[in-house]
Symmetry: C2
Subunit: 311 residues, 2 copies
């Protein structure tokens, strides 16, 4: 994967397509917005640093969401240097793709955020993170969607896959029943748990631990160095089918399902959602971006996406 | 431990102290109430079927709570055949000890519930469960306390130790900070997690999983049959000091700490607490008691304690 690094790097710095992006960012016509979107999307969908099964899974998840919800989604209008960016020394590269939903009257989608991050490690290896998260708006109280794969060595992978609840489950057992018991989500977690190389992954942030559902898949896969390709095999045979199933459940029952949300409840939901987004921004993005990309790039990227996370 | 079984059994059936209990239950004077309490407490505090380190730990936890909160606690007034009971065939025995707090104006304690259950298993071994839970009332929103040790074989122990939150942590990050981050509760979980024989324990009930805090210790200790006494060693050296520390944190910061709770918040807290108790009664007690003690005994015991769990 390290071979791809300079290629991507030089492409971005000097290719005509990159210059076009910068120009189109200054235009406001629908066609140049689409051009900006399409260029960013192409780069994003490459997932250039991860293994084939990992890339295929991410591409499938994103295409599935786009096919199902496409008509409800606006193009990605992030500046080109936020859709794709790198640190000053060129050792860290990333792509970011955010699509808002149409106005709440036409869509239950708040926004979708997809990203990949590649960073060379001082130890010689590389850190690769790919993620897709989907936030719903207050037309519905149904859970959000989250998948994140973090690979810090050829033998180690962290998987976070969940439908994070948007209500206090202790106070809303019916909600727990509808989205978590009724959907049999826990059976997917149990399948993964049985694989010998799978261990629980416990986030160091208590807020993140509080955010996820009781059926959240948060696991660390540790394979033997003597079994090269085993992580990829596990992604292909185990992670892939389960992630697709969980996304399908989310699309059918959450993103496209209808829920009754009263006015008071809607106001409360907006407050709670807002808090979740603020804390996620702070805890997850706000702390890792400066470390990976330096303060300047982090400021630019975080500045451009802050609007999505603040109400 | 199986040796103790018939001794306890015959003691209960024919001893004069057991008959006295039945008489005193019909008296309502303060002194006979205390007699009923004291007899039940003596039996309860025996923890007759568990190992010495396990028994000592439970006795210490209960004495510590009683010493600290004693003046706020009413005596246990459960009928004698609920303070100590068994199934029809004499293969399952149990003791239950519940003490309410004085009126809310004088105490933040709703009630404390201690219990032990011993049940012979068809496979030849025995199941031993000991627990202590403490529920606070709406004078405070501080977390409750819960410890449960479940031993189903000489080489296997499940430990549940937590301060279950009384607020939605996602919506109340300050509360999360005060009681969970600030108290360094997670460091205790981390210590246990490092022991090679310790594995995470995941409750089959999603409601129970939702109830506990992100620092909850929910572990299964599985030792080798070739190392007899290893479970007891781990209780003595690891579980014991951590359980005592967590109880001290709860006593200092929750049971005896002062919190501002407004009227509206208090009403909501009462509703949420009520729901927790109803669901705990249903999921935990309501499902296991009939299985262990038969429907008749379960009805009697659950009938006597239902009042504590319903608002």
């Amino acid at each position: 994967m390290a071979v791809a690094l300079p290629v991507i790097f030089s492409n971005f710095r000097s290719s005509p397509s990159s210059s076009r992006s910068k120009i189109s960012f200054n235009c406001s016509s629908a066609s140049s917005k689409m051009e900006l979107h399409n260029e960013g999307r192409t780069k994003f969908m490459e997932f250039p640093y991860v293994s084939a099964p990992h890339r295929k899974l991410m591409q499938h998840l994103i295409s599935t969401v786009e096919n199902r919800l496409g008509s409800q989604l606006l193009p990605c209008t992030l500046p080109p240097d936020v859709q794709y960016y790198q640190n000053q020394t060129g050792t860290a590269h990333a792509s970011l793709h955010i699509r808002s939903g149409h106005k709440p009257s036409q869509s239950q989608i708040d926004f979708l955020l997809g990203s990949w991050i590649h960073s060379e490690l001082p130890t010689g290896g590389a850190l690769n993170i790919t993620s897709l998260s989907a936030y719903l708006n207050s037309l519905t109280d149904a859970p959000n969607f989250l998948i994140e794969l973090i690979q810090s060595s050829p033998t180690s992978l962290i998987l976070i896959l969940d439908l994070p609840p948007r209500k206090d489950l202790v106070f809303n057992p019916d909600y727990l029943h509808t989205f978590y018991e009724g959907t049999q989500l826990d059976t997917r977690r149990q399948i993964l748990e049985k694989i010998p190389e799978v261990r629980p992954y416990i986030s160091s942030s208590l807020y993140i631990r509080s955010l996820v559902s009781p059926t959240a898949i948060m696991v660390r896969i540790e394979t033997e160095a003597s079994q090269p390709g085993r992580v990829e095999e596990l992604i292909k045979d185990n992670v892939d089918p389960i992630a697709k199933e969980v996304l399908d459940i989310w699309l059918d029952q959450c993103a496209c399902g209808k829920r009754e949300v009263g006015e008071t409840e809607r106001a409360f939901l907006e407050k709670r959602d807002g808090l979740i987004k603020t804390k996620t921004f702070e805890v997850d993005l706000g702390s890792s971006f400066p470390r990976l990309f330096g303060p300047e790039v982090a400021d630019r990227v975080l500045g451009a996406i802050r609007d999505f996370f603040t109400v």
